[in-house]
Symmetry: C2
Subunit: 183 residues, 2 copies
DNA sequence: GGATTTAGATATAGGTCATAACTATCTCTG
DNA sequence: CAGAGATAGTTATGACCTATATCTAAATCC
């Protein structure tokens, strides 16, 4: 059945192909069911927002995960690495490199925990607090751009719906092979 | 070693150890402003949904990008690689490997384009169409789980808000270096 | 016919997410 | 108290995704 020549109609350009090809139109493809898939819509929206984040935070040399770590440590001084990683949804091994970088840049510190010599008490340095303060102003304008197309009520609802999605999707995940969670 | 002989109480559980038998509390950290950052909320929700996707699609050995490619090619038979990549928001070089894999598995094909010997006309094979049909049933239940916490009206609104966020965030991104889109 | 552009491919690098395995320390129990 | 087991952090590693620069062949433009 290699007779594929019959239904080859691309149907891409409703007007008669590009005989003289003037504009080389972008030829928008049909996305099919994709826009109705929650994961796809979430991913596209997230990438768009993160693109703005990256651009806005480039001067501070902070990536989203680093910024969230600074924020979390600031809100929970003295917390353990495993606690911080868990709260941020980052695997502990990956959080190590993140902290290494923050510490190397003098933004955060692994202070010895008093009661447990295994664990570290994370805290921001003065420099870290200063950078975080700068970052807060940056994030404010970033946030304004990200939610710029929404009314205040819509933004509030969006956050609420996202929280619910994360809750329910995180709770009853389709289980298959044991221990297979691949990214 | 500084005075390590201080053997104080474990201090892990505010109430006296595990004496009461309550499991070690997770000690939820304060997330600070994070839940009010759109990018953060989007990312967490997306990861939760994708985790379910991965689990559900593991038997088909389809990752999100592969599934979306199958869907797109099915909806646009004969399209070019660059068109497909652009529609999916994937860089062309990265789409090459994706197509290589789909083609190696006999799910899609790079047919020669009639009018342009440089480009390929992408299309699904019979096997690809069959797998896609199976995938559609899987994605239906996956979608039901992902949106399980939402009413139909809420789900509709969520999609609408996500589309708006993607639009506006994609439109006026904080610009730094010219030509730097997403990173 | 030569310059430019476009389609696709290759190579490469960085970032994110995940797992296994190792060391050091703590806790619990016999 | 000693050893079993759990926990905190680290290292190493791999899969996947994303982005850039570069290369070729072929189309298009002048």
């Amino acid at each position: 059945m290699t007779n594929a020549a019959q239904r080859k109609r691309p149907a891409r350009s409703p007007s008669g192909s590009n005989a003289v090809g003037l504009l080389a139109q972008p030829t928008r493809l049909a996305l099919g069911a994709l826009p109705h898939l929650l994961g796809y819509s979430l991913r596209r929206a997230q990438l768009a927002v993160f693109a703005d984040f990256h651009a806005a935070f480039a001067p501070l040399e902070l990536r989203p995960a680093q910024f969230s770590a600074l924020l979390l440590i600031d809100a929970n001084p003295g917390c353990k690495q495993s606690e911080a990683a868990e709260a941020l949804g980052i695997m502990q091994p990956n959080f190590v490199a993140l902290m290494d970088d923050l510490e190397a840049r003098g933004l955060a510190r692994r202070a010895p925990a008093k009661a447990d010599r295994r664990s570290h008490a994370l805290e921001l340095t003065g420099k870290g607090r200063l950078l975080l303060a700068r970052a807060m102003t940056v994030v404010t304008s970033h946030e304004a751009r990200a939610t710029g197309g929404l009314s205040a009520a819509e933004a509030r609802q969006l956050f609420e719906l996202l929280a619910r999605v994360q809750q329910t999707a995180g709770r009853d995940t389709a289980e298959t092979a044991p221990g297979s969670f691949r990214s």
